[in-house]
Amino acid sequence: MDAEDVRREVRAWLDANWDPELSLAEWRNRLADSGWGCPTWPVQWLGRGLPVALGDVVAEEFERAGAVGTPSGGGMTLAAPTILEHGSDDLKRRLLRPIVTGEDSWCQLFSEPGSGSDLAGLTTRAELDGDEYVVNGQKLWSTSAHHARYGMLLARTNWDVPKHRGISYFAIEMHQPGVVVRPLRQMNGYASFNEVFFNDARVHAANAIGEVGNGWTVALATLAHERRSFDAIQSRGRSPKGGGRAIDENRAEIAELMEPYKWYPQRAGRVDLIVERAKATGKDKDPVVRQAIAALLSLARAAEWTGRRAKAARVLGRPPGPEGSLGKLYSSQIARAAAHVHTLITGSDALLKGADGPLEGIIAEILLSVPAVSIAGGTDEIQRNIVSERVLGMPKDPLIDAERAFRDVPKNLASKR
């Protein structure tokens, strides 16, 4: 089946089925029944078994028709691919369809106060009691946990083996008495994420995704999908133009999904504002500021070109060079340098935020959001380890915990609670 066959087929199906006046749930059920919502998934699991390139053709046709697609949150991008790869048929049968229809949303329950960079050192415990596991511990940095029906939970089920081998991966129901979700307030004042407390929460043993004790492998699959969908955050905030019930409901769904990310442009440093701000404040005449601006804009452009090189190599099917692994570290450097230059340009007004602050508080929001860039999604220090080991081939740090029973590994003394 070639691209034009697929294009003809999906176009005909959309002509016959897409109706903006359906409810979002009705429309998404049609997507699930037909397989056109998830064309690259297997035929028996709500898909059509198409290769990724043909999936892009389907997406183009949806866009052309102005039709709503599947939901954009962590259910589709993280949970579903993980379940498809590692879940039992029972889990696929129970969990996939409500993800596709948008009925169930999901959150990620990976990071803990005591294990950030060292995710595999997590200490949330799940203990078997009959055919259920009893869960105790705390997670954090969970987006949308307050809406989610299910969580992708990593918990320790065996303390007598080395850390990577005692972890299990569960689909846990969030709406139960043992689970408490609280917003986690950040230094910039927003609460975009949650902390989640488990106090004798329960999850059925049949809800383990992958083998019990093999959760680390399953988690790596989720993390790989997370990296792949990282860029997609920018493009997610789009619903089809036009009106109709399905489109309106989709718009509301996206607005709720994007709400936590509204400060992300400021987090990146807003390099786009630098020149106009310098002119507006007259600091463009200051030779020191001019040097700082030129250095920042050079860094931003050269980093962009480096990304373009990586992309060009990918398109040509050449093996990835070092240029592909550096983007996150460049983002940190750019954000931090941009915050510095914004401060130089802004002077005393950098003392002010909100309505009293420059640009209605945008500048203050930049200054207070930039520190997230070098931490979120892997700290700069971890990134440098990865770059030096995988790109430069430098030796790994000798690990002291990799082969010891986790029970005997020194635990965190510095965690908050």
């Binding site: 804009l297 860094l299 070109w305 030096s388 430069l392 081939g393 430098m394 000798p398």
Partner: protein
């Protein structure tokens, strides 16, 4: 912009790398840096006759290969990698482009084929003892009387000025200032009224000379007084080419340093397993890739986007020399005490980095130019 090299360009890189690996191992740089002429004529001849490298970017109409700055950049990246000692930058990058930018068609016909064949060694004299790299810093005067032009004044920081047999010289009309009255001239290095003295240089792998002109007769290139635009263009092209060379040197240096960190054992483990060292190396790689991306983009701009060139040439030069110098300094640091010895090769690259930082204008100069080019 393509952001990638074609198969032919990659092949050129392989050929040049193989040639330099054989003919110019680092021991050659050590030997040549102690000589006064600073290059090996036999290797230059081979590089000219077998590989035709001096003509790579000179148009076919003037005896060259007719490729662009991207190919020239590939050659220079490899020369930087090998720390090749020879008059390539002087003759091919600086003098040939000055003649291309300033000369008449007849002058290009007369001068360029010799450069392209590697038979003429040319250089370009811009800066003077004041050390400025722009039109307004030029003070050397050119006077015309009875149809003959005569040059009087001093030039300094002239790359391979003692090895060259053809001099291209930037001069100004008496009484003119700034960008006005700038002209290009050419003359034989052996002409009457020309004196040459090698300078004692910080980077012995790149020879510089001071030239004196005492009424030396010269030929005007192109039109009298109209050379400022050609000078800017020549300097921009040279900055782009130097960035390619710096990127090549910096890459080799990072490789040497990473290899050293893997092999050097202290406290019972390779120092390359310590995060203090690994993180330094990761940061060096970040800077290296910025320098490479800048060099590649700027070379493409030199070929296809002349409007962008003033900005991106300065961007590349500043980014490239900051990267190279940082990588060189950290390389010495990671080599520890040995890094400060004459015997280790790292200092050879460090000296080239320091020299390249100020040659053609330092990063502050170029960032100010960049700010202006971007409308600040």
């Amino acid at each position: 912009m393509r952001f990638s090299f074609s198969e032919e360009q990659e092949e050129l890189r392989r050929v040049v790398r193989r040639f330099l690996d054989t003919t110019s191992p680092i021991g050659e740089a050590r030997r040549l840096m102690e000589t006064s002429e600073g290059y090996e004529p036999a290797v230059w001849k081979q590089l000219s006759q077998e590989l035709a490298l001096p003509g790579v970017q000179i148009p076919e109409a003037y005896g060259g290969q007719g490729f662009g700055f991207v190919e020239l950049g590939v050659v220079l990246e490899e020369m930087g990698r090998a720390l090749y000692c020879g008059p390539y930058f002087a003759s091919v990058v600086m003098a040939a482009n000055a003649i291309l930018n300033a000369g008449s068609d007849a002058q290009k016909q007369a001068l360029l084929p010799g450069i392209a064949a590697g038979e003429t060694l040319a250089t370009l004299a811009i800066a003077e003892p004041n050390g400025g790299w722009d039109a307004s810093s030029v003070a050397l005067e050119a006077r015309c009387s009875g149809g003959a032009w005569r040059l009087s004044g001093e030039k300094s920081f002239v790359i391979d000025g003692c090895a060259a047999d053809l001099l291209v010289v930037v001069a100004r009309a008496p009484g003119s200032r700034g960008s006005d009255g700038i002209s290009f001239f050419s003359l034989r290095a052996s002409a009457d009224g020309v004196t040459r003295r090698p300078l004692d240089v910080l980077d012995p792998t790149r020879k510089l000379a001071k030239l004196g002109f005492d009424g030396a007769r010269a030929e005007l290139l192109g039109e009298a007084g109209a050379g400022a635009a050609a000078l800017s263009r020549t300097l921009e092209q040279a900055a782009v080419a130097l960035t390619s060379e710096m990127a090549g040197s910096a890459q080799r240096l990072l490789e040497l340093t990473v290899d050293y960190a893997k092999a050097r054992v202290q406290f019972g483990r390779p120092i390359g397993s310590f995060q203090a060292i690994k993180h330094k190396c990761a940061d060096m790689l970040l800077l290296l890739e910025l320098a490479r991306s800048s060099a590649y983009y700027a070379a493409e701009a030199a070929d296809q986007a002349p409007d962008e060139l003033p900005a991106v040439a300065s961007l590349a030069k500043a980014q490239g020399s900051d990267a190279f110098l940082h990588i060189a300094a950290e390389s010495i640091q990671i080599h520890g005490g040995l890094g400060f010895t004459w015997e280790q090769d790292v200092h050879l690259y460090f000296k080239r980095a320091k020299a390249s930082e100020v040659f053609l204008g330092d990063p502050i100069f170029h960032r100010e130019r960049l700010a202006q080019a971007w409308g600040l």
